[in-house]
Symmetry: C2
Subunit: 466 residues, 2 copies
Amino acid sequence: MKDLLIELDSRMKMPLYEQICRFIKEEIRTGKIAPGEKLPSSRALAAQLSVSRSTVDLAYGQLTSEGYLDSVPWKGYFAGNVRELYQLGDLKRIQTQERQEQRPAFLWDFALNGIDEESFPVNIWRKISREVLLEENSGLFQLGEPQGEQSLREVIADYLHHARGVQCRPEQIVMGAGNDYLLMLLSVLLKTDTVIAMENPTYRSAFQCFRNLGCPTAAIPLDGAGMDVEKLSASQADAAYVMPSHQFPMGTVMPISRRMELLRWAGEREGRYLIEDDYDSEFRYRGKPIPALQGYDTKGCVIYLGTFSKAIAPGIRVSYMVLPESLLSVYRQKGAAFSATISRIDQRMLEIFLREGHFERHLNRMRSVYRAKHDLLIRCLREMSDILELYGENAGLHVRVRFKNGMTEEEALRRAAGEKIRVYGLGEYVIEQDASVDRHTVLLGYGPLKSEEIQAACRKLKKAWM
Amino acid sequence: MKDLLIELDSRMKMPLYEQICRFIKEEIRTGKIAPGEKLPSSRALAAQLSVSRSTVDLAYGQLTSEGYLDSVPWKGYFAGNVRELYQLGDLKRIQTQERQEQRPAFLWDFALNGIDEESFPVNIWRKISREVLLEENSGLFQLGEPQGEQSLREVIADYLHHARGVQCRPEQIVMGAGNDYLLMLLSVLLKTDTVIAMENPTYRSAFQCFRNLGCPTAAIPLDGAGMDVEKLSASQADAAYVMPSHQFPMGTVMPISRRMELLRWAGEREGRYLIEDDYDSEFRYRGKPIPALQGYDTKGCVIYLGTFSKAIAPGIRVSYMVLPESLLSVYRQKGAAFSATISRIDQRMLEIFLREGHFERHLNRMRSVYRAKHDLLIRCLREMSDILELYGENAGLHVRVRFKNGMTEEEALRRAAGEKIRVYGLGEYVIEQDASVDRHTVLLGYGPLKSEEIQAACRKLKKAWM
């Protein structure tokens, strides 16, 4: 380690720390400072240059973040290996590079969380956005209601009433930027240490949210009808997170009888809640849609979670929850302290999209789009009916496939990947290993895939699996 | 309090709770139940009508939210003042009205959280929104990165570096829909029961968020330079929430010396953090802006919070935090489970707004707009210099005024309200009463007011106060 012969010019417009940066970069570039060589301590260099130590720290910090220096705790700063920096250009590109490498190259991906983006009525959306931004002193840029705008909550309440049989006043609706946020907010409203029962397997992201929020959870097995209420009663849980319309990932539609058992369980004790996640109930291709659990709730123990992520697009980040009166008062005391999480412009756009019937039309269009894909996928999979059984069809945006020939999920995924096709294993959604969990099941989402892609992908799956 | 002679008809299609609502509304309308009169407890009424208690609770809840009843904790339900209600008709109007009534009719409001909406370049915003929605298969409707889009975090990192001296890689930035959400997320990342020291007085909404999240807080008095570090060291706190650039509400700009003391405190122990809320640092009208505390942090103990609520608009709900490496790894384990909270379309729009220099131009324009308002307000207030002193000027969007003539904050607010002018008392922001807190101070925000309004309002204040 040698002294750095930096000449600082305090009359220059360039700040001192930047002059130091420039000099050291140059030294490293030209190899005058070799890769791995230790630099003077910030204290020493500050003294040598008679500048404040924070100036040198600023320079070293900058150089480190740009990758010219490596900072080794308790040891000091060392010249980084610049050759890499040179081949790959700047740090940013290195990182983007890394991120892309993480995703293996699949030809087609039966992703479970995607939507058919092409069918989104982007022209109408653009038109509405223009209208909204032309509204005179709309106040849309000022801070809005924590709960979301009343006018939006009104149209949502109407929609939920006629489309899902949900009984609520707009005052019970809390808008939020996605379900994860609403679960966060919910964890603030529920009594601390409320044990939340979850179906096993379940929607993993909800499970992870609860766990990271420090909410204790209990995994409850599923039978053909849904969450096993006996096991639920035997558990410590005072809340149960369920998906009665179309359980994820199993695709089970919960029969009325089981819904009533759950409501009875919740009614048994003060402060018990059912968290009904109705994430994809808009999509049902055969048979009448069953009204939401919330509609049958006479004791105010259902928390209804809805989202526009499937019905419109996950990218817009709009979800909502319907709180029972008991929690509404808690929300007013504790929850309302958290400002709204959805742009008022987006709220206004969504309101118009619903009010003017665009949403209704969009849903009808999407139902036929997804139904066509669904039917096609089912047809293709039936060609493999010697080796697999189908479940959870006629609703939602994914189907479940079980191998009769004993092929394991791992094997099925491996073989599919061999053909560059991505399918998903049930195992990913198992939150607690138990006997009830099946090891021969994979999941296929068809939201984003085109018909011809579904056909081609299934041909390859047939090749891989049969 | 008398019995209610309600006749319920279980054969009617109308639910029982609604029949109860109807009856009680009628009784209140016709004055049979007088304003302020106590109603039977839900238990008693349920028994009397032999319906379930939850039915009565539902009815009472409904009537309360419609304003027919007032619910007084531990006391019960009382008939509201219907004369108002009557003139106003239906639910919605009542609620909007109530919302407005919470803000009594002021001529001018020196609101502390508003912005100058008129100066927002809505045409550019509209143009960008159109461009973004015209982008072909942009993927903007699919779910994005939990942290926010890389490309947006890159421009923000650049901006923070040159404008605020913040040293960070885009990977350290976490985007979120408003500061409250980011504080929620932060509470997930920090060790449970981390005591958070807060300046007293402080930004009340942050205090309420921490409290509702169950984070223990410690109120630390301020001296002329900012948070009292001796008292901080004596406290149980392992994190300190500070606003060095322009303390809210005091307006103090923290001198370097105090910043260094804080950094030293944080560096003393592993896992200590400074939460730097840089909410309005873009607006400084005289003197050089002081770089953010984060820029001087060599030990990775500063969490930097920034927002576009002041610099662009609160309605768009975009904030971000810069995590030190130590917390970044925690974020990747726990925080990344929570999906993004900002629409990708909005993120893309903001990215273009920054990248194409619109933000820079907007800030420059706003600086002169606000500076003019600031100078005007100061001039007007100086006319009252016999009775008041000015503090916290030359930065941010509000000034602080202290009465030398012993006038209390309450008196000053009362007198101002008499002239239909709204100013704000320091007391609102006091989180713990102690000797250091002054009772003769009011706050005036000038963001949303027009020049002529500021002048007119100040004339009235002079009349009220002198």
